[in-house]
Amino acid sequence: MNRRHLILVGIGGLALIAYPWVFRSNYAVDIGFLVLFAAYLGQTWNIAGGFAGQTSFGHVVFFGVGAYVSTILHATYGVNPWIAWPCSALGGAIVGWLIGTLCYRAGLKGSYFALITLAVAEVGRIVANSLPITRGGLGMLIRADLRAENFQFKDPIWFYYIALVLCVLAMVIAWGLTRTRFGARLAAIRDNEDAAEALGVNAFREKVKCLTLSGGLCGAGGTVYAQKYLYIDPSIAFSIDKSVEMLLVTLIGGPGTVLGPLIGSGVLHFIGELTRDLGAMLPSVGNPQPLSIIIYGAALIAIVAWLPDGLMGLFRRTVGGDRA
């Protein structure tokens, strides 16, 4: 990363820190949280999907496990959510390790791996719906007590900064993947697993490590969500929409890049906000809201059509320089 990139990243970072002060409205802060949080979750996906080429369709399983671990510990057993938070990360990591071990041992790759993760997420949802400890379909409510020691805040700006910190943390880890041997091994596995093996890389071990890391980080995200919205149920915690969003922001932004998920998240949310009111500008129509989403879908296709390498591809083409 050269000087020009460093300056751009620095400016970007300052902008993100300053954002809630410039747009001092809770709505803007909330949108900011959503963008950063989606970027964070996308980055956790990116670690496995982008950097190691392990596309998964069921990443939400880590998120859901994380959300339930901390919520059960906190709401049922009275554990302080700050302490429960790393337990969620651990839970996600364990699930990541399990999935990785089983699937990679069986030699699953490509779309097979992607689909099996989808099935695992489904299993997670059904199990969460059936266990007494999760209260099944009734969902779990966290009592509102808006104090910092409860990992709840009166001012939503705190969640914005927590999301920002997580996002930066994940980006640093991702950047680390571009600089360390571990990352290089993952890249080798992504580009050609057989060749990597021939060069002495233990693909199985590296992939399991990668998925464990990815799962742990994703699980941590589950706690943040649960603490912000104070209610989870199996269809929220294991929703396929979240898996899709994680993969979407990364693929649109540029898989295997550090800034990809953040840029993808920003652009997709921007398009979403832009189109959300568009439908409403036709008051004579019965329900114009689906039109907004149609435009969103069309924008998605347009981005793929004209930017096949994702937005980072565009960035690289215009700003130039090596892979950021």
Partner: protein, 409 residues
């Protein structure tokens, strides 16, 4: 719908309105200046996604109510201020619902009404609590909504707890009046919070009216086929079948049972999602003599019949979302009249002490306890000859109940 002005992006709109107000004050006398006021009402419903139909129905009800309030002169205690809807799509997602709350707060809404799904309602009303803005839950069955100690949350309709209790009483009386032919029941429910909660409550109370619960059958949303559930029901041969689920699954099971000519003493669903005019219109043979304990309008009220005609003339069906949201807007309008202001504390106080009543639904006068209206009540309905009648309580009944259900030949 032409009365509804769509809220624009937050900050700029407020400055714009403030600017025009300032400009207006120069040109108009003080009395007229006050009449330019509008009270913004934030409406958050899922108008895209799985339950888009239900969300849209709520909007229909809201639109009519706002139109009626404004036509009658607006909020007279506030100088004839008109109600203005600020529409938001929750997309059935908690985070989008909350985002809409924030957006509408910027637009300066005086109150929120929403959200059809309990999880969205729970999270959105929690978010609104930050601003102490009243949040009226129009549709949302879970009792978790009102038991959180939040002063800004109000639910006009009864929750599944009250509905289940009243349904049991209704079933008990209907059964007794027929000589108690029903002695056993099977409860089918969707596995989310509404179905699970309702079924659990029913299972606990059915024994008190002499009905043994043979089995609870939870199912997923969506369910692709009901054949095995029908099989179990045929094997157990219960007298009563109750269903607490959403429209598609409700209809699919009803159809399957009808096709298989499963004889039951009665089908008595509680908050059955598919029991509505569409069912009796499209599948009258399936629906015949099915009963449901659900939110309904008062068939003896001319206001309700008039509203029904208007809704049908506009091309929609008169489903419960329409009048529940209609009532929520009316409740708010009444509270605004009594509070004479949109000041949040005063408005919440006005809502909390509200005794608003309407004859459109079979409710008693409003009485909020911890945010739940104790005066709310559902009714026992039955599909008869392609129409839906209220069969219990007697005060609102439009027809006698047919029980037990005639056997298939």
């Amino acid at each position: 719908m032409s009365h509804i002005v769509i809220g624009r992006r937050a900050i700029t709109r407020r400055r714009f309105v403030a600017g025009t107000m300032a400009a207006g004050s120069l040109a108009f006398p003080a009395i007229l200046r006050a009449q330019a006021k509008t009270v913004k009402v934030g409406l958050i419903h899922p108008v895209t996604g799985f339950v888009a139909y239900n969300g849209q129905q709520s909007r229909v009800g809201a639109a009519m109510a706002i139109e009626d309030v404004n036509k009658a002169g607006g909020i007279k205690a506030m100088g004839g201020a008109t109600l203005e809807a600020v529409l938001g799509d929750s997309q059935s997602k908690v985070e989008v619902g909350v985002s809409e709350v924030e957006k509408m707060n910027e637009a300066g809404v005086a109150a929120y009404i929403g959200c059809f799904q309990s999880p969205v309602g729970i999270a959105a009303s929690q978010a609104a609590a930050k601003y102490n803005t009243p949040f009226i839950i129009d549709v949302g069955a879970s009792d978790l909504i009102v038991n959180r100690g939040l002063k800004n949350v109000f639910r006009l309709k009864p929750g599944f707890g009250k509905c289940a209790e009243d349904a049991i009483i209704a079933l008990g009386e209907i059964n007794k009046a027929a000589g108690a032919p029903a002695k056993s029941a099977v409860l089918v429910h969707e596995s989310g919070e509404f179905g699970t909660g309702t079924a659990k409550l029913l299972a606990g109370k059915l024994p008190s009216i002499g009905i043994e619960v043979k089995e609870l059958i939870p199912h997923d949303n969506p369910t692709r086929n009901m054949d095995n559930i029908a099989l179990r029901i045929r094997a157990i041969q219960p007298d009563i079948l109750t269903m607490s689920n959403y429209g598609n699954e409700y209809t699919l099971l009803a159809r399957t049972l009808h096709q298989q000519k499963v004889n039951l003493v009665g089908m008595f669903s509680v908050l059955g999602g598919g029991f509505n005019y569409k069912l009796v219109k499209d599948l009258p043979d399936v629906a015949e003599n099915m009963m449901d304990y659900n939110h309904w309008f008062n068939p003896k009220s001319s206001n309700a019949q008039g509203l029904k005609r208007r809704v049908e003339a506009a091309g929609s069906l008169f489903t419960f979302e329409v009048y529940l949201t209609y009532n929520s807007v009316m409740l708010l309008a009444d509270a605004l009249e009594r509070a004479k202001t949109t000041d949040k504390d005063k408005l919440i106080e006005a809502l909390a002490t509200s005794t608003w009543s309407t004859d459109i639904v079979p409710y008693g006068p409003t009485k909020f306890v911890n945010g739940q209206n104790e005066g709310g009540r559902a009714a026992a309905l039955q599909a008869q000859k392609g129409d839906i009648q209220v069969v219990y309580p007697a005060a609102f009944a439009s027809a006698s109940v047919v029980f037990p259900k005639p056997k298939y030949n």
